[in-house]
Amino acid sequence: MNGANMEADARTTDLNTPTQRARGSTADADIHIEVRNLNAFYGSIQALKNINLEVPRRQITVIMGPSGCGKSTLLKTFNRFLELTDGARITGEVLLDGQDIYGSQVDETEVRKRVGLLAQRPSALPMSIYENVAYGMHIHRLKRNRREYKDSVRHYLEIAGLWEEVHKRLHDPATSLSIGQQQRLCLARGLAVEPEIILGDEPTSALDPISSQNIERRLLDLKKDYTTVIVTHTLRQAKRLADFVVYMYLGEVIESGPAGEVFNQPKHERTRAYLEGQF
């Protein structure tokens, strides 16, 4: 797996900037996640209809669309979370660096380690602030000794912009933090298992404006190292964050492409209507 990663890194250096890339043609780009003929069902209801999509590496891809269009469902197929819902099933493929994460040999815990999730509402684990960050490293045995754990906890809290606020009370319950701080804690906790991809399911919708801004800033900082896919229902947030945009409607991808193109010259009537606020 390491070999594949290094190869991928080598390709990234030659990558064009997103604005230079032609809309819809991602053939020359470095594709991190590729979705092929993906369908998803809840019981007899089809939530995703024949999705084909390419998510570029180390960019922020924003999935937007009206409520119930399947954007969260699509996101959940990227870390094998959809199967936690009773009666949900999928057909088709989701390729992570070319490997189908729904293959029979694939360990879903390994997928979830590589693909982190920032949920809508932060849920701190019932432990101290320190243990929340150390938890994932513990279960995956990423570190060898206490010293390494301590250093890593500090490192990831710093990345999440939380260290200054919590370093004097690392052993307080994580629930003693404010919601905004808890979301940054969740970010630190997610990054600590060393994922390649960060998924965000409306990660700021439960937060106040200042905290939202803080999370957005982190995500922009992090995109140099991580492929990021965010679901949002706020158009303004999409415009602030997106390098690449996917517009969904009723379980289908209507349009996808570099942010500048989709926002300025949408090709589809529905996208234009959405952007103009007709929903």
Binding site: N79, F81, L84, T109, E110, V111, R112, K113, G116, L117, A119, R121, S123, A124, L125, P126, M127, S128, Y135, G136, I139, H140, P173, A174, T175, C186, R189, G190, V193
Partner: protein, 287 residues
């Protein structure tokens, strides 16, 4: 100006509130009367000898000595029974939640446990007795512990199950999103979140175990001695109360009330201790 009026809605509310208060008062009063009876009749006979001596004066309902044999016996029985029940309950409760959930099997297991919960303890005693005959075990501490653990198991599992089911789904998902296996979620997150509730479940079962007379009647037997071996019979407080109150001698009956008072105090200490422990463990739980 808005004035209060005795509208139909307000009368209904006042009535229902009154009924609720009466129910509460009845329960509180019954508890008060029970405690009052035990204290008034038992306190005069509650001497230091009662808790430090084994029965003296010929036989176990004797007028002298104490019930130390029954105190120690009860603690051994309930402690052992609770420990043994816990050994099985926690895995069952976690399995129920983690792997069975609300499936048909899950519902079937829960129904069985509820039925077991409702079975009178004398039936457990009789069942234990036949079991003992089958394996050639005589009335002993071990047999008492086994039967008490059977009696406590459904209480403990269902109490834990109710606690675990209140586990926030988000929390489980958060742990799964980090790449935890279900077992890791169960052991590192669910157990942690539910620890205060689990402690309560354990003590609920302990309380039931230490107060039960019928199930240990056939299985643990009774003796004047402090138990020294798992295979010897042992005394217990509920049976001490039972035997002492059943005598025609007023002095011995008073000692029965004193024994009941000791049992009540033990249960009180255990409850308060569990409250204290739960509140300490509550520190990290997610509300």
């Amino acid at each position: 100006m808005i004035t209060k009026r005795w509208s139909r809605r307000r009368i209904t509310e006042a009535f229902v509130k009154g009924m609720m208060f009466i129910s509460l008062a009845l329960v509180a009063a019954s508890l008060g009367v029970i405690l009052w009876t035990v204290i008034i009749r038992g306190l005069p006979a509650l001497t230091w000898d009662m808790v430090t001596q084994t029965p003296k004066g010929g036989y176990y309902m004797g007028k002298a000595g104490g019930v130390l044999n029954a105190i120690i016996g009860s603690l051994y029985l309930a402690g052992g029974g609770t420990a043994m029940a816990l050994l099985f309950s926690l895995p069952i409760a976690l399995y129920l939640e983690t792997y069975l959930g609300d499936s048909t099997w899950g519902r079937y297991v829960r129904l069985s446990l509820d039925v077991l919960w409702g079975i009178p303890s004398i039936v457990y005693g009789a069942f234990g007795f036949t079991l003992m005959l089958a394996i050639g075990l005589r009335a002993s501490l071990l047999a008492g512990i086994i039967v008490l653990s059977l009696l406590e198991l459904p209480i403990m599992v269902r109490a834990m199950d109710e606690v675990i089911r209140r586990m926030p789904v988000d929390l489980e998902q958060a742990a799964l999103a980090l790449g935890s296996t279900k077992l890791e979620v169960a052991l590192r997150v669910v157990t942690r979140q539910m620890l205060p509730g689990i402690v309560t479940a354990i003590l609920l079962a302990f309380g039931r175990g230490i107060g039960d007379a019928a199930s240990v009647l056939f299985t643990a037997g009774y003796t004047d001695r402090i138990p020294t071996s798992l295979l010897r019979p042992t005394a217990s407080l509920p049976l001490a109360v039972f035997f002492q109150l059943a005598t025609p001698y007023p002095e011995v009956q008073r000692r029965g009330y004193a024994s009941a008072l000791i049992l009540t105090i033990i249960v009180l200490i255990v409850s308060l201790g569990s409250r204290w422990m739960s509140s300490r463990l509550n520190k990290y739980t997610v509300k």
